[in-house]
Amino acid sequence: MLTAISWQDIVQCIINGLCMGGTYILIGLGLTLILSIMSILQFAHGEVYMLGAFTVYFLCVLNGVPLYLAVFISMLTTAGIGLILERVLLRPLKGVFMSYVCATMGLSLILQTAVVLAFYKGTKQLPSLWPGSFEVGGMFFSKERIVAIIIALFLSLALYLFLKRTKYGLAMTASAENREGSLMQGINPNVMSALAVAIGSGLAAVGGALGGSIFNLDPYMGGLAFMKGITLIVIGGLGSLMGTVAAGLVLGICESVFALFFGSQMGIIIPLVIVIAFLIFRPKGLFGHD
């Protein structure tokens, strides 16, 4: 079982873990935003992630749009789909919790089927973000994974700056912290919800594109992604964006390291065990405060 593991393996393992973590973060951030501001779990968020990936597939593989441009366009169009989703599906159902659950679960099935019909089943691939690897001091670093990590961290930082430094960002933070208090400052809750879903969806789309490029691309990839997103919320703490980022990186590395040392099954089980432990011993998560 424990064959000789070199430093190279460990380094690659950590990079791989950070990269997976990055995709988890991009889906978790959106889920956290939507949950904090709208108090709902968007059960189709994994499919939004998947949709983002397939949009890139459609643009780039089927229509020759350069990869990075396709990712950028996908981010915008998926954000737009998020806006439509909020307006058409979520806003009319305001106030009745179970309606959201049913509606978004239904939507996730619809999206999966739609993509299967459009593109047929079977695993596909997006082109690499940056083929090849760096060599530093005798160790090889996968270029595409490094790019993915940078993109994920960059977008996390961008979101942070938006929430801290812009008027609407502060308004969103305020809405999440005290809803009535925010209403009394003249903040429109519908605009806040629309922004949350749009931004969350845009981020998920990029996450999907990264995941689809580095790992795999299939219509059912959303389910697993959604699970990871939920895991981040529990470990990182409800309502905490920093928590989501930290949890994502930690989770990615844990999965990768456990998979390296104990096989891929453990890589999947251990994080779930951690989630259960958190739910029992520290339901607030690492940084949570809701």
């Binding site: 502060l170 912290e177 005290n178 209403l183 003249g186 405060h289």
Partner: protein
Amino acid sequence: MLLEVNNLWVSYGGAEVLRGISCEVEEGTIVTLLGSNGAGKTTTLRAISGLKAPDSGEVWFEGKRIDGNPPQNIIKQGIGHVLEGRALFPYMTVLENLIVGGFLQKDREHVAKNLKDIFNHFPILKERQQQPARTLSGGEQQMLTIARALMGNPKLLLLDEPSLGLSPMMVREIGKIVQEIHQRGVSVLLVEQNARLALGLAKQCYVLETGKIALCGATKDLLNSDEVRKAYLGL
């Protein structure tokens, strides 16, 4: 008349909380709404600012009917509401809370100007501006929530029990703040259980009892009647 409330009925679930109350606030005055717990004072303010839609009745502000509108639109008309329990943004800093208070202001300059003004009037908020709101003392939090509402330049300020949970010294501070606000031309509808504080400030007084207006009149008239003072005001 700046604010007119006509025959307002409000219920939560099946339970009636307000049963046809009417009151008004003249521009440039402080009016107080007194009553014990459960009388319906907070509900009245919530019905005015739109957090609770009334079952029937009307609310008029500056000659326009506002009841039934979403809260953010009512606030836009020039009403500020300092909520019961303060409703601060606990993990945001004092400064951030104030900036959000200026959300409706047209541009950054306005916000900056208001901020400077607020910091002049509340030097302790300036001192603590980088602290998360939840780390402030009760009195400081009350100051912050009032200051936040003032960032919106309201014409009418709805104040819900600002003295609650504060020391006598802080209560006097709050009284001074309300007077200063009034001097700057803001009209105030003050909801209070502390009759002494409220009557020291208000020109006009309403007493609410289980959802109905039991008493209303000019403060000095009410204070002059022994029975009224004892029966309704507890003084």
